[in-house]
């Protein structure tokens, strides 16, 4: 299991702290993904997002994901930090940082981490737009 920082927090995320965590003398590269709130979605003007999580399960899945990534690729450290609560336009909702001896593994692991987090981890975002609000990914039940 690579040394990992897994966290869900209501406060603003710190890129500097996350990068500092994964930095390591044994690593030759760090790949970082930052998810930020975009000002538009499907033709709607987005005002802000609000994130909710099921923390014990989300943290558990994120830890399992870190372990899985450590088995798949030779990486040094990994950090996955997700914010909950309101996230304004341009602010970071998630930071994934991976360090590894060689850059190829860092790129692959970081990509895999965010893709898998988005597909499986019990975290939800509610989009507040000009005219209303909607849970992103909510099925269209009006028919």
């Amino acid at each position: 299991m690579p040394k990992s920082l897994i966290d869900i927090t209501p406060g603003p995320l710190s890129l500097a702290e996350t990068a500092a965590f994964v930095n390591d003398p044994a690593a030759g590269g760090i790949d970082i993904f930052i998810g930020t709130t975009r000002n538009n979605a499907e033709g709607r003007q987005v005002l802000f997002l609000e994130y909710e999580a099921y923390p014990p399960m989300a943290l558990s899945l994120m830890r399992e994901l870190a372990e899985e990534i450590g088995r798949k690729w030779e990486i040094t450290k990994i950090a996955m930090v997700h914010r909950i609560g309101r996230v304004d336009i341009g602010e970071a909702s998630v930071i994934i940082a991976v360090s590894s001896p060689h850059r190829n593994e860092a790129f692959l692991a970081c990509r895999y981490a965010i893709d898998t987090l988005k597909a499986t981890v019990p975290i939800w975002k509610k989009e507040y737009f000009a005219g209303g609000e909607i849970w992103v990914g909510q099925p269209n039940l009006e028919s």
């Binding site: 988005k118 597909a119 981890v121 019990p122 939800w124 975002k125 509610k126 039940l141």
Partner: protein, 82 residues
């Protein structure tokens, strides 16, 4: 009978109007019984049913997984983290 605590999240919580409910189910019930019970209690969840996943004690569960007394079952609508 066994006691199950159900937690609902996001759109499912809004549709049901509650974040948490305690259910009594028959011993040896499969997890999917929770969805049936919830839909009976909260009819607005009926349309959500095809889109809901279940987790038992913080791990994704299959509808046929058997429940034990004291389990926490979470109703997981489509996730949208990141």
């Amino acid at each position: 009978m066994i006691t199950i605590t159900v937690r609902l999240f996001a759109g499912a919580r809004d549709a049901a109007g509650t974040a948490s409910v305690v259910l009594s189910v028959a011993e040896g019930s499969p997890a999917e019984v929770v969805l049936h019970s919830l839909v009976q209690k909260y009819p607005k969840l009926e349309r959500w049913k095809p889109y809901l996943k279940l987790a038992v004690n913080q791990a994704y569960a299959k509808p046929g997984d058997l429940l034990s007394d004291g389990d926490e079952v979470a109703v997981i609508p489509p996730v949208s983290g990141g």
